[in-house]
C-alpha cells in the first residue's frame, strides 16, 4: 500500500491535464500535434501500458496546462479514444472526450504531391467529409486524403 502510494506520488500531478487512453504507439504523435515538445512545464508520458479497455495504451501528464476544445479535437486523427482529465489540487475536475472536427488546418499534409500546399508555403486546410472513415477533402486541390494517406506536417 505504502509502496503503491509512493509510485502514485511520482506520477500524479497537482495541477494540469492527464491525457489517457491514447492508442499505443501514438503518444509521440499526440505530443507533436499538441506542441508538447516545446512545453516548459513538466511532461510525463508512457507508452504500451496495460489497459483493461484497450489491451495496450499510452498516457501523457502535463503540469499546469489545460487544453481548449479546438486543441483537443486536433488529435482526433491519431487518438479518437483519448480522454482529457483536468486536475486541480490533485482532484479530477472534468473529463473531456475527443470529437472529430469539421475542419482541420495545418496539422495534416495533403497527400497530392502536386497540391499547392506541398509546393509553396501554404498552410493545409481540409474539410472532414466522412468522420467515420476519416476522409479529408483538401480546400485547395479538392482531392481526398484518406486515413491511410494521413501524414502529419
Amino acid at each position: 500500500m505504502k509502496k503503491e502510494q509512493r509510485h502514485l506520488n511520482v506520477t500524479a500531478i497537482e495541477n494540469g491535464t492527464v491525457i489517457d487512453h491514447i492508442p499505443a504507439n501514438n503518444v509521440f504523435k499526440v505530443l507533436h500535434i499538441l506542441n508538447l515538445e516545446n512545453n516548459k512545464n513538466q511532461v510525463l508520458f508512457g507508452d504500451n501500458l496495460d489497459s483493461k479497455k484497450y489491451g495496450k495504451k499510452g498516457i501523457i501528464k502535463v503540469s499546469n496546462t489545460y487544453f481548449d476544445a479546438n486543441e483537443i479535437n486536433k488529435i482526433a486523427l491519431v487518438a479518437p479514444t483519448a480522454t482529457f482529465i483536468e486536475i486541480k489540487d490533485f482532484e479530477v475536475v472534468t473529463k473531456k472526450t475527443v470529437e472529430v472536427p469539421d475542419q482541420i488546418k495545418s496539422i495534416v499534409k495533403c497527400f497530392n504531391p502536386n497540391c499547392i500546399t506541398n509546393v509553396e508555403f501554404v498552410p493545409s486546410h481540409f474539410t472532414v467529409v466522412d468522420k467515420e472513415n476519416m476522409k479529408l477533402l483538401c480546400h485547395y486541390c479538392e482531392k481526398i486524403t484518406g486515413r491511410n494517406n494521413i501524414v502529419f506536417a
Binding site: 502536386n114 497540391c115 499547392i116 501554404v122 485547395y140 481526398i144
Partner: protein, 302 residues
Amino acid sequence: MKDKSLVSITDFNKEEYLRILEIAAGFEENPNQKLLNDHVVASLFFEPSTRTRLSFETAANRLGARVIGFSDSGSTSVKKGESLKDTIIMVSGYADIIVMRHPRDGAARWASEVSTVPVINAGDGANQHPTQCLLDMYSIMQTQGTLDNLNIAFIGDLKYGRTVHSLVQAMCSFNPTFHLVSPEELKLPSSSKMHIKNSNLTYHQYTELADVIPIADIIYMTRIQKERFSDPLDYEKVKNSYVLDRAMLHNCKPNMKILHPLPRVNEISEDVDETPQAFYFKQAENGVYVRQALLAAIAGVK
C-alpha cells in the same frame, strides 16, 4: 457576381450558371461592347495554353479592357524564385481582375485568398477549369435549347479529364442521365460518381462507344493521353478503341451534337468535321462569349 472569384465550378449555383449563359448569348449577338474601357485585366499564364489564353484575351479586348500579363512563367520573376503569393499580391495592385492558369492543383484557390481583386481560374493543374465548363454548358444549351433532362455521353479519359469532372458536377443540377464510356483503367473517379448519386441521378457505364451513339443527345469526346498509362502496352490496347468516325453516326438522334474540349488528336476523324453533328469548333468560339460574360459580370457592368 460582382467582385466574386471563380475558382471551382461549385463556387457558382444554378441561377448563376444560367445568368452567365444568358449574358453570353447577348455577347454572341453583339460581341463588341466597350463596357470595360477603364479596366485592366491581368492574364497570368504560368504554363502555356492556346485556346484558353487567346479566348480570354479576345474577350477582354472585345470589352475594351487593356490586358497585361505573360504567357509563360519562364520570362517572369517566378524564375528568380518568387512565390505565387507575392506575384499575386503585386499584380492585384496593378489590375482589376486576374485570370490565371497554373500547373499546381489548388493554386487558384490560394491566389483568390491572397488577391485583393477577383481571380478567375483558367485551369489549375489537374484540378478545375470552370470557364471550360461554362462554355460547355453554353454549347449544350445552344444545341439542345435546354439543359434539362438530357442524355449526356462522356467518352475516353474520364479519370483524369478535369473538364469531365467539372461538367458532371455542374450538370447534376439539371436532371441528366450520364452515359460513361471508357477503358477499365480510365473510369470516372468515385468522387464524381458520388456527386451523381448525391443528386439522385443515374449513370450507366460502357466500354463500347457504339452503344451510346443512338441514345445520346450530347457526345462529349476526350483525348486519351499516353502519359496516363503506367504500362505503354495498355495504352496501345485502347488508343484506337474510342475513335469516332462518320460511319458510326448513321443511327444517332437528329438533335445529337459532338463536343470536345480540344485539342483533338485522332479521337474524332476529320471526316466528322463536315457533319451536322460536329460542334467542337463552334464550342471553342463560344468560349469567347462566355468569358466576356464572366468578365462583365465580375466587373459588375452586367
